[in-house]
Subunit: 415 residues, 2 copies
């Protein structure tokens, strides 16, 4: 395996440390702030919410990314989003970054910010600053510190999300290879739509890579990972994804789209895909992860739209929870997705670990063995395979089932 | 008032009768079929689902409407959708129409069909035919028969939906005016999205009007009524809206877009708006109707998109149920809707019967009196007024709150 899964998260890569604290911003008696810090200035890339209303920390980070400045720290708070706060919110960002810069001995414009929580209220500057001062003194490069940070950024999440991989790249200025590491953490859960709460994600790597290529790689990877658990446009005011690349691994810096870049891209895809799937599967009380793979679509974008429509469908989600093989709902979700197709030409299968079931072809919902369907619906991961029979493009989307009361109405609709 | 609300529904207009029966198509011991019949052939207009996968009865009706044929009967069944049934489903439509034609003494291609229920299974031809035979013998023009038909087409609906209006038009070939009547019934409820279940609606009028103008009027009115309780493209395989115009009122036939046409258009808008709002408000256990009016938008279509985005937002719906004035969620829903706007230039108000509250302006969520907010959120109908401050276009959308378990998580998110 060129890309190898390893333990750890945000502190897995050389040069990165993390800390967390109880700042009592809104909730009491729980961790509500986290700090990620790099020993060296990092090449920085970011992707942000497409919401027309952007929180102050998003505007702050976008400005740093746009200007091509290096990043060295990322400060996250939960409880209050610092959105809809106008100029006061921007001032708070400036003051927070200045305070962190002093505490950490780095430039203020290398301090990235992320907030999640209620829209409207102003952040309590004193408690934010106290939290930063405390965290600056407790930074640790241990795996435990990384895990603790991934827990501190949780809101409605039921589990923390972190992952890391390593891979080998040619060594800088010499023979042989060095091991490069890429890890990350995220918060957010895909209950009905991902807009149920903000997604914050931070990745760190010791890979040496040109900033422009890092941004290009991130943009490429996001389309088929984080954006495939989302419904287009359905984004919060605060969604933020950052990558910090410190370069301490000692690889020959990636400066063009060569074999090393492609390997980095694959590693980035692996980490983002893992975090995205964990977010998709982390619905409140979710009992299933739902994966929909659309193959033989006419265009890549249509494949994505169709796959997302199935995993975003409340009716499909309810059906999975109710273990009710009312598979016409998958057909219906493809039908209202938008892209043109011939309903008589497509096939839809449910694919399990050892078995599979075709429930739609030749324009007709097929008769199927109810016991076999129930066995497939009893697996934790539910896979739908939709063959559009139009071209060579494919895409995969992820979601989870719905376990709320209204599922009682819809999960039993067919029986 | 030029347009006067009157009692009744589908049988309010001269020449229309209705019947219903227990056909035991899927459910036992409940009405599950309805028949609407006109004494005379009617000018027919229809609007159908935009889903790429269309149920057999939708394809059957579309063909009749497209060919400009008159309509004289509408047969509805619940329990099975006759969708995803291929050629067998189309054959069933042909046989059903032929049987109804014989029972009613009318052409088979004047028999419209509507189905709602599970996608996949075939309809039981014998029970459908037995139901039609029984209903043909019990047709009645009474208001009670109309109400009973509106009850027979219910599925997950909690209340039946019917309404009627009358207005005056110049009499045919002479002095004075005649009273024209337009009524209708619909089924469908807007829980999360209207795609939770099929919308079926049938309107009947004794107005004499050219078929082409009838279709034009219907297309015009649907955009700002039924489509404003829907999220674009989120449609079932079976959505059907039909209007039958028999012409027995004795008005001078409407053949051009004159004053009479505009009055008819206003009546049609009134009836469609009323049915749409009732559908929007009929969520399982809904405790509030939510209306969002967007004013001063740059284009009409953007106004519609923005208004729909607010009423379709699960977070807004949950906030209303929880009576939690977490108004940033309205701002967020405008932001991810798509249209460009300047967050610092818009204002958002909550408008009650006697009071109102501005909760967002100048780029900031405003401080507001929590008691006043609670009083506004305690009214049954919740109105949001969003001023985009960009142009002169406006639109209104309708929805309901969410009362399911997951609301417990999100309705209390802010406190």
């Amino acid at each position: 395996m060129k890309i190898r899964k390893i333990p750890g998260g945000i502190t897995a890569a050389k040069g990165f440390s993390a800390a967390n604290c109880e700042a009592a911003i809104k909730y009491q008696n729980r961790k509500d702030m986290a700090l990620v810090y790099s020993d060296v200035p990092c090449a920085l890339a970011g992707v942000f919410t497409s919401n027309k209303v952007k929180a102050a920390p998003v505007l702050w980070d976008m400005d740093i990314v746009k200007n091509g400045k290096p990043g060295q720290a990322f400060i996250v708070n939960t409880g209050i989003a610092n959105a809809g706060t106008g100029e006061a919110g921007m001032n708070l960002c400036r003051q927070t970054a200045a305070h962190a810069a002093e505490a950490l001995g780095i430039p203020a414009d290398s301090v990235l910010l992320g907030s999640t929580g209620v829209i409207g209220p102003n952040l309590p500057e004193d408690r934010i600053n106290a939290g930063i001062s405390a965290m600056a003194k407790t930074l640790s490069a241990s795996a435990e510190a990384g895990t603790a940070a991934s827990i501190a950024i949780m809101t409605t999440d039921t589990v923390n999300k972190e992952t890391a991989v390593e891979f080998d790249l040619p060594a800088a200025g010499g023979e042989g290879t060095v091991t490069v590491c890429l890890g990350g953490m995220s918060k957010g859960s895909g209950m009905i739509h991902p807009n149920m709460c903000t997604m914050l994600a931070c990745l760190s790597t010791d890979c040496a890579i040109d900033r422009g290529l890092l941004q290009k790689a991130l943009g490429t990877v996001v389309t088929d990972t984080f954006n495939m658990i989302s419904v287009d446009g359905d984004t919060s005011t605060n969604d933020t994804l950052l990558v910090l690349a410190g370069g301490l691994a000692g690889n020959r810096p990636i400066t063009e789209e060569d074999e090393s870049y492609r390997l980095f891209l694959e590693a980035l895809f692996t980490v983002c895909r893992e975090l995205a799937i964990r977010m998709a599967g982390d619905g409140e009380g979710a009992t299933h992860m739902i994966e929909t793979r659309v193959i033989h679509a006419d265009t890549k974008e249509n494949a994505r739209i169709l796959a997302r429509s199935v995993v975003a469908s409340n009716l499909v989600k309810a059906m999975i929870y109710g273990k009710d093989a009312n598979c016409g709902r998958v057909l219906c979700a493809l039908g209202y997705a938008g892209p043109e197709f011939d309903p008589a030409a497509i096939t839809i299968d449910m694919v399990g670990e050892k078995d599979s079931l075709c429930f739609y072809k030749d324009g007709c919902v097929q008769r199927f063995d109810e016991e076999k369907a129930l066995a497939l619906l009893s697996e934790h991961d539910i896979h739908f395979l939709c063959d559009m029979n139009m071209g060579d493009e494919e895409a995969t989307a992820w979601g989870c089932d719905l376990t709320y009361d209204y599922v009682k109405i819809n999960g039993d609709y067919r029986t």
